[in-house]
């Protein structure tokens, strides 16, 4: 039964990784930029979610506000930071992005150094399922992630905008010659990716009831490991990597594996945050192109 509980917890954590990593993959697919500052939008979403909920009492309003604010912030980052340096070597954008991430985290400190909490935390129920008590907030996060990401996939596959979008990702020059407004696609891209990160930020704040300036730290580095694992730019690979890592972490940090006479406890060799990178290094040694290659 414990194994089932761990599996469920791993999948629930995986859905948060997914909400964050989708945006990163979108940006990488389109611009070939490792968008480290993405995690600052996760934190921004958390702040907006908590503050608006406390001010208005409406969680739904807060969630929408967080998505819009982070989405617009994402578009501004594209316009002011990335667009002017796209022609330079890729490390320029990477370093600029790291700098922006650190500066934004410090910026949150000006708002509230100690972090913010809900006065009356919303969505606090629990759910009894197969002998387990699960937090409603986590279940909601899981389904929100599935619905949003699934919806996005449908949008990309079935609609005109979606086709244009996919064309721009795979063949920008060709797409442009067909009259697709590439710049517009990029803005949409940043808006959607950032809004999803904000959803993750708000959802995590429901279980922790604490949004701090550095809340995005751990997620940002891990999300980068995830998209590299997923083969950079491959959406399917990224999603699989998200859930795989969630489950791997859940088991590795709490369980020991018997190997002959000795117990191998991964949690005793390295801490939780190192596991993602150990996994990454091992995978890259075997498959330098990542788990999945972009189709």
């Amino acid at each position: 039964m414990t194994e089932l509980a761990l599996l469920v917890q791993g999948l629930l954590d995986g859905s948060i990784y997914a909400l964050i990593a989708v945006g990163l993959t979108l940006v990488y697919g389109l611009l070939r930029i490792l968008h480290v500052a993405h995690a600052a939008l996760f934190t921004l979403g958390g702040y907006v979610g908590v503050v608006v909920t406390n001010e208005t009492g409406s969680f739904i309003l807060a969630l929408v506000a967080a998505m819009i604010v982070a989405g617009i912030a994402g578009m501004i980052i594209y316009r002011l930071v990335y667009q002017p340096i796209l022609h330079l070597p890729p490390y320029v954008a990477l370093i600029a992005s790291i700098g922006l991430f650190i500066a934004m985290q410090e910026g949150f400190r000006f708002y509230d150094e100690q972090g913010v909490s809900y006065v009356n935390p919303p969505v606090q129920g629990t759910l009894e399922l197969a002998g387990q008590t699960l937090q409603l907030a986590k279940i909601v996060t899981f389904f929100v992630a599935i619905i949003l990401i699934g919806g996005l996939g449908l949008l990309a596959a079935k609609t005109r905008t979606g086709v244009a979008w996919r064309a721009t990702v795979t063949m920008p020059a060709m797409a442009e010659s067909f009259g697709i407004n590439i710049i517009q696609v990029r803005y949409i891209n940043f808006f959607i990716g950032s809004a999803l990160a904000a959803v993750a930020g708000v959802m995590v704040s429901l279980t922790t009831n604490l949004v701090e300036p550095t809340s995005g730290d751990v997620w940002s580095y891990k999300a980068l490991a995830i998209i590299v694992l997923g083969g950079l730019g491959s959406m399917r690979g990224t999603l699989i990597a998200c859930f795989a890592l969630g489950v791997l972490e859940a088991f590795a940090t709490t369980t020991c594996v018997p190997l002959g006479n000795i117990q191998i406890c991964l949690g005793e060799i390295m801490n939780r945050d190192a596991i993602a990178f150990a996994f990454l290094v091992i995978v890259l040694m075997i498959r330098p192109q990542g788990l999945f290659v972009r189709a």
Binding site: A5, T214, N271, R272
Partner: protein
């Protein structure tokens, strides 16, 4: 920068006739994490120390001189605290210094102060190696192991719980507490069912809690700070784990109750500040701090407040600025301060009773007091 300060100094001396007093202030060095992950504790540390200095100066200072704090931000990192210690010693020329910071930063600075033979008081850092730096280093709070032993007594003897799960914060704070807890657990009939560790950046405890639930413990000894323990306790209760949670002084802040909300009710901690104290000095501190800070007093503020009072008493007794005389005076001093009666043993450690507090109706309240002299004996070498 230095010339600017000098200029400002000359200017103020010209304007105020009492400007001369400026030069005769007694400087007390102070470092705390004003930024970074521990900034909330740093803020309380500084406010507690400032409050003490204001109170002492309002009563005429020490031997006719005013106390003056020289404060630096160490971000709770040993990398920053060692240069700060050097700066306080050779540039600011402080009479003595106080750490309002965590163990890592305090350990690094302790070595520097000892080497320069400048007295140094750690307010609440728990690591045992701090006072071992040498005779110039003192501590006004418990060594981690001592508080861990008190935790074992609390669980086994006072709360009468038998099956315990440890959720350990993976840093010097959490680990030294747990060392003390494990040392005495068996003596109080406490059985450690299993132990899980988490790193200071974790706020999501889903997998650990799933395992804890399966362990069915009577009590959970969870080490951490309010910003890790708040989310942890919240998630434990949300997952339906009802076992009593035992914390330590890292929980000791109103912020813990704010984060954990209703889940905080019934959480018991070992600490050094008693909210329901009848002692005039503690009551006075709690009231004055809330007035100054705009939020309720916590353990960190109480210990830095105490450390300043210890420093002032020693400076008064020493009657000179000679570091060796000040050190000798600290070693001999007995002060009645916000966190209790403070006097030091040969290693510079303090012996006092551990106060157990519990959350009731959204506030910390008195639960019990652990007074066992043998159990709480600090190391002497």
């Amino acid at each position: 920068m230095r010339t600017k300060l000098l200029f400002a100094g000359v200017l103020s001396a010209g304007i105020f006739a009492a400007g001369m007093a400026q030069a005769q202030n007694i400087k007390i060095g102070f470092h705390a994490p004003l930024t970074g992950f521990a900034a909330a504790d740093g803020k309380s540390a500084v406010l507690g120390a400032q409050l003490a200095v204001e109170q002492i100066n309002a009563k005429g200072g020490v031997n006719g001189k005013k106390l003056q704090l020289v404060i630096y931000d160490d971000q709770a990192s040993p990398k920053n605290s060692a240069p700060i210690a050097n700066k306080l010693i050779s540039q600011d020329k402080v009479a003595l210094a106080i750490s309002g910071s965590y163990s890592g930063a305090t350990r690094a600075a302790a070595g520097v102060f000892q080497k320069a033979k400048v007295p140094y008081i750690a307010a609440y850092a728990v690591h045992p190696s701090i006072t071992k730096a040498g005779p110039y280093v003192f501590r006004t709070s418990f060594v981690g192991e001592v508080q861990g032993r008190a935790g074992a007594k609390l669980v086994g003897d006072i709360l009468k719980k038998r099956r315990v799960v440890l959720i350990t914060l993976k840093n010097d704070f959490g680990r030294s507490l747990v060392r003390g807890f494990k040392e005495k657990a068996a003596a109080y009939g406490v059985k450690i069912v299993s132990e899980y560790e988490y790193s200071i950046k974790n706020r999501q405890f889903g997998p650990i809690i799933a395992k804890v639930k399966a362990d069915k413990p009577d009590a959970i000894y969870a080490t951490g700070y309010f910003f890790t323990a708040g989310p942890l306790v919240r998630q434990l209760r949300a997952a339906g784990v009802k076992a009593v949670v035992i914390g330590q002084e890292g929980y000791d802040s109103q912020k813990f109750i704010k984060i954990a909300g209703k889940a905080a009710e019934g959480v018991v901690i070992t600490t050094s500040l008693n909210r329901d104290s009848k002692r005039a000095v503690t009551l006075g501190f709690i009231k004055a701090f809330e007035k100054k800070a705009g939020y309720k007093a916590d353990m960190v503020a109480a210990t830095t407040h105490t450390a300043i009072y210890v420093a002032a008493a020693a400076l008064k007794a020493a009657g000179s600025m000679d570091p060796a005389a000040i050190r000798a005076a600290i070693a001999k001093t007995t002060v009645n301060a916000a966190t209790g009666q403070i006097s030091f043993n040969s290693l510079g450690e303090v012996q006092k009773s551990v106060l157990v507090q519990v959350v009731r109706n959204g506030n910390w309240h008195f639960h019990s007091k652990i007074d066992d002299k043998m159990l709480l004996a600090p190391p002497t070498k």
